[in-house]
Symmetry: C2
Subunit: 318 residues, 2 copies
């Protein structure tokens, strides 16, 4: 197939690009490099089946040109910063919701009808059922990020009903692994590099979170587009376990050989819209034959290995 990958220079998008190319597909990479990194596309750029379009999804002209001849869209580009959402309340709407509308309209104009979308477990708000299934009680949104992704999910589903699109919507937990560029592991690593004797922790350390290793995530996506055949396939993606923030701190401290004093900001939530417990029921995805290969701990350690080998990541703004 000829695939358009939006956010192709990002953490997950660049790995997806590599795997699609390795599987013999043609890939148009699309990125505005607001958070994507050119070096993540080094391997892809050496492949003749890859072409990069530098552009923003809010620029519908560039997007239209990128879509010519494409038969599958992997829409991963997003503003993925949940924590700072309240500081710029239009950003999630623009980069997650309106950008998705632009992708859908571009697809419609070019007769492209298959889309993978990276949604988030944040659409469950503060879930009441654990592990949380895709059919959980209709949630109330608690973050601008979750709301913007939910809006994009709704648009995609409505396009399926109205125009015959087929969609695979993945509700991710936080993803870990090589090319990871933001999130708590980076925050902690950065702090402990600067001052190994102390660690500032948002919340009370008892927030329960689930994570997934990036290649496990991609295994699931690539399997689901083969096996899940509904017009709209909504699939949770996470590990079959969760950990406390304190577990993560222990694993990271052990690996770095440090014993920091832990300074908790306090409260059950790390920030506005933070969910004290994220743990997704992934039986739908598992019923397709998928299972993750790395534990959360292993995913965190791989992420630390990557950060050790790539100190430049630390130079990016926190």
């Amino acid at each position: 197939m000829k695939a358009l990958v939006t956010g192709s220079a990002g953490f997950i998008g660049s790995h997806l690009t590599d795997r699609l190319l390795a599987a013999g597909h043609e890939v148009i990479g699309f990125d505005n490099f607001s958070s994507g990194a050119p070096e993540f596309l080094e391997a892809a750029r050496r492949c003749p089946a890859f072409r990069l379009v530098e552009g923003d999804l809010l620029d519908t002209g560039v997007l239209a040109r990128a879509l010519a001849g494409v038969d599958f869209v992997f829409h991963l580009a997003a503003n993925a910063d949940v924590r700072h959402g309240p500081e710029h309340p239009r950003k999630d709407l623009e980069h997650n919701t309106i950008a998705t509308s632009n992708v859908l309209e571009g697809m419609r104009a070019h007769g492209v009808r298959r889309i993978v979308f990276s949604s988030t477990g944040s659409v469950y708000g503060e879930a009441e059922v654990f592990p949380t299934p895709e059919s959980a009680p209709f949630p109330v949104q608690t973050s601008l990020y979750g709301a913007s992704k939910l809006a994009a999910e709704g648009l995609i589903s409505a396009y399926s009903a109205a125009y015959g699109f087929q969609a695979w919507i993945f509700r991710f937990v936080s993803i870990l692994g090589e090319r990871y560029t933001h999130g708590h592991v980076l925050d902690f690593y950065r702090q402990l590099r600067a001052h190994p004797d102390r660690l500032d922790v948002l919340g009370d350390g008892h927030q329960r979170k689930s994570y997934l290793y990036v290649q496990d995530c991609l295994d699931a996506i690539l399997l689901a587009i083969e096996k899940a055949a509904e017009p709209v396939n909504i699939l949770n993606l996470g590990a079959g376990e969760y950990c406390e923030v304190n577990d993560s701190i222990r694993w990271i401290s052990e690996r770095l050989g440090v014993s920091p004093e832990l300074r908790y900001a306090g409260g059950a939530r790390g920030w506005v819209g933070d969910s004290p417990w994220i743990f997704l029921d992934c039986s739908r995805m598992r019923a397709l034959g998928w299972k993750p290969h790395l534990t959360i701990r292993e995913g965190i350690l791989r992420t630390l290995d990557f950060l050790e080998r790539n100190p430049r990541i630390l130079e990016k703004r926190p």
Copy 2:
């Protein structure tokens, strides 16, 4: 209070404006008159506590000026046309989602923190539980209209979490009564006026729908803002019953004294995104002490009486 009513020249908005004025409140009416009618505001315009701002919610400058000094927003303005959504896929996004974001940003800038929002039972898509409670299983969107309203709900809830807004989100069934200007009663009435011997019916006539009389709807809204005190109050609003399209046809035909030949388009759905069964569980609203006073049949008959007395409504584009 000093209230801003968006969509104040519309069907529900104009009645709300009248009732707020009658209760002694100050009202700023906001409307772009795309579907609102100046004559619906005739009574309001005679009241010194009413001021009309003609503007579009996509024009943030006009909106900002209208919000000065306001302490409560009733956000009813919307593109309420579900059926023709697929013909203009950006319209719902712009007039329902982005417009709501503009209202919220305007409120934030002016320190206004209380909002009533007219959402829709369409956010349940094709529900699987009847009557459908607010906590129904997380639905898949089936219409651009429902998706755009769901997106607006999400934004409002996220603003509550991020900025301390208090919100009352009402998921309406179709509303009937005086000043009704679009929907199946008007479609049928218009047809039977033109040719009493035949009636074209979308779908198979067995679609099950619920309706609510406009004053019952307003009773609920005005009661809920007094009694429901959560940061985000999500409330279904409908009659405690439903009817088939065929029931409605019978009641309308009897009132008009006609016996049309019924010509069904066929299929369980009248159009893309039409839900074959809408019936909302309104126990949350009833627990606050509300109940509707008119049956669906009585609401339909009142609507017919209004149409008989206001033939100008028929002149509007179908």
